[in-house]
Amino acid sequence: MKDKQFWSVAGIIFALFMIYWFAGHPYFVAERSVMFWAILIVGGILIYSTRMAKRGEKIFLRSIPGLKAVEEAVGRSTEMGKPVLYVPGIVDMDQVETVAGVVVLGHVAKMTARYETSLNVPVARAIVMKAARESCRESYLIEGRPDLFHDDMVHYLTDDQFAYAAGVNGIMIREEPAACLYMGKFYAESLLLAETGNSIGAIQIAGTASPSQIPFFVTACDYTLIGEEFFAASAYLSQEPELMGGVKGQDYLKILVIAVTILATLFNFFHDLNWISWDVLGYLTVQ
């Protein structure tokens, strides 16, 4: 959709919504209106940034060592003639981290196809297996090496957390991959995997949005993509303007969040001093 058309449609939808709003907004949960407007604003900024990037605006993405190292890791595996092990977390496709993990897998699969390196993706959920397999198949096709793709490069182990960790550790010990990539949602098995990978001397790159597992990965892996870096991985690896625009949008949002935090702190301070009666925390708290 062209810019003009897009903004016209968006304007009409917004106008219709405003009519609904001023008509008393029936069925709408009024206590959640702050969250609703926040979503609209955040969504609007992201869409705006994406469209600006699509129009050709130059976007600078700071260098992320962990993502730069992905290609190095695949290259190292190629030189050593050993496989690349990719673990897309242990939860299902209903978690955005798993989806992000599968997205990054697509980029890694392109590299392994390019370098003709073996790729091994053990998964803990059958739906993830299907999604990851499709992603890899497409990547090999795009790179013009469908002959190198085989279904079993993405294979199911088990749904159980520790059985899965034991299975992956077994693969690591037997096959000794030169590179281990952990991208997705992890729980207590994170350190079991990363320490085993460390013991076999593999180059390890982790990416997760699980705050409690970040310290383990930082300790045991060579590179760790912390939180938002992980979600920016796809944009960084693909260098697609649309995705990079989204990352820039996130940066605008961070500035907005900082501004809101400072203002809310000030207003709350004034409220505590009884200078103003408006309780900003009560307003911002989502019911």
Partner: protein, 340 residues
């Protein structure tokens, strides 16, 4: 069409789920809260077959081709077959119910062997059961034949016993059934073993993390020690003055590194120690004063301030990342997850 349809489905369901949270309408609410998640569960259940088949195929190929580590693959197939059999084919939960045991003297020796009791104890158990009540041997039998032989023995001894089979479905949760036995005595210990390994891995990982390589690692080491000591009882018994002395010596080491002058270092060490000692004598050496050097207080501050600040910064980043990614998926900007 093959590409557009999944994106359209993802976008529609995504929009309904996202904005359904703001709408007070029972149908939408029930779809978002219950139906959608149930659909996912149903899909995931069917997908399990794909996963199981893939697992069997992979392991079977390893065994057939005698690939490296094929005995593990054979063990995996055996484990799968055993679990499948215990869950779907073999009931494995037959109990024996004794309805008539007036001749307890002759029944007790048979029963004693089954419940691991002595004969006298078993007779006592039978004697306190009111007339008309039944006695069920607690640990069920894995096979019907096993239960039958006990029934025959009891019947031959003058009692009356019957076989009771657990209901299909409930048998996996019946304590002592074959599946339950496997779960409790094979699966659970193996899982616990894997989890226990974590303790050793934490130790080895901590050792590497705490190695003094640079400023950040040193900071981590010091904070780690303070947190660890401050959270155990011994930390509360370490006087704040002892820590104060250590801080003075550390500062003197800093002076030495910075100025590389012996006189300055001597002044820093002696002056610092004197100040702390005099202050200690004046205040009477209270163990928890000055509070800033008392480990439980110090660890509490580190835990609740710098730590929380860092964690919240990461959480805000993660939140924005998740939101931005979700919007990208819902709007179809990011299509890699469907293989594009």
């Amino acid at each position: 069409m093959k590409r557009q349809l999944p994106i359209a489905i993802a976008a529609t369901i995504g929009f309904i789920t996202l904005f359904g949270w703001f709408v007070e309408e029972p149908t939408i609410k029930s779809f978002v809260d219950d139906d959608a998640t149930q659909w996912f569960d149903i899909l995931a259940s069917f997908a399990m077959f794909l996963g199981a088949l893939n697992l069997l195929k992979m392991q079977a190929m390893k065994v057939i081709r005698k690939q490296r580590g094929w005995p593990y693959a054979a063990l995996a197939i055996a484990g799968f077959t055993f679990s499948f059999t215990a869950g779907f084919i073999m009931l494995g939960a037959y109990s024996v119910e004794i309805t008539e045991f007036s001749n307890s003297a002759s029944i007790a020796p048979i029963l004693a062997g089954e419940i691991n009791q002595d004969v006298l104890g078993t007779q006592n158990i039978l004697s306190v059961i009111p007339p008309g009540d039944t006695y069920t041997i607690r640990a069920p039998y894995f096979t019907e034949g096993g239960a039958e032989s006990v029934v025959e023995q009891i019947n031959a001894a003058g009692g009356t016993a019957e076989i009771r089979a657990a209901e299909w479905g409930a048998h996996i949760a019946t304590r002592g059934s074959l599946f339950n036995w496997m779960f409790r005595f094979i699966f659970t210990p193996l899982s616990a073993t894997m989890f226990a390994l974590l303790a050793f891995f934490v130790a080895s990982a901590s050792f590497r993390a705490f190695k003094i390589r640079n400023f950040e690692a040193t900071l981590l080491l010091i904070s780690g020690i303070i947190i660890m000591l401050g959270r155990v009882p011994i930390g509360g018994n370490i006087s704040a003055w002892f820590i104060f002395y250590i801080v003075v010596l550390a500062l003197a080491a800093g002076v030495n590194t910075w100025f590389k002058n012996r006189t300055y270092t001597l002044i820093a060490v002696v002056g610092g120690l004197l100040v702390v000692t005099i202050a200690g004598f004046i205040t009477g050496w209270p163990i928890d004063q000055p509070g800033i050097f008392y480990l439980p207080v110090l660890q509490d501050w580190i835990y609740n301030n710098p730590n929380v600040a860092g964690a919240r910064a990461i959480m805000i980043g993660i939140g924005l990342g998740i939101f931005a990614s979700s919007i990208r998926y819902i709007l179809g900007i990011e299509k890699s997850y469907i293989g594009e």
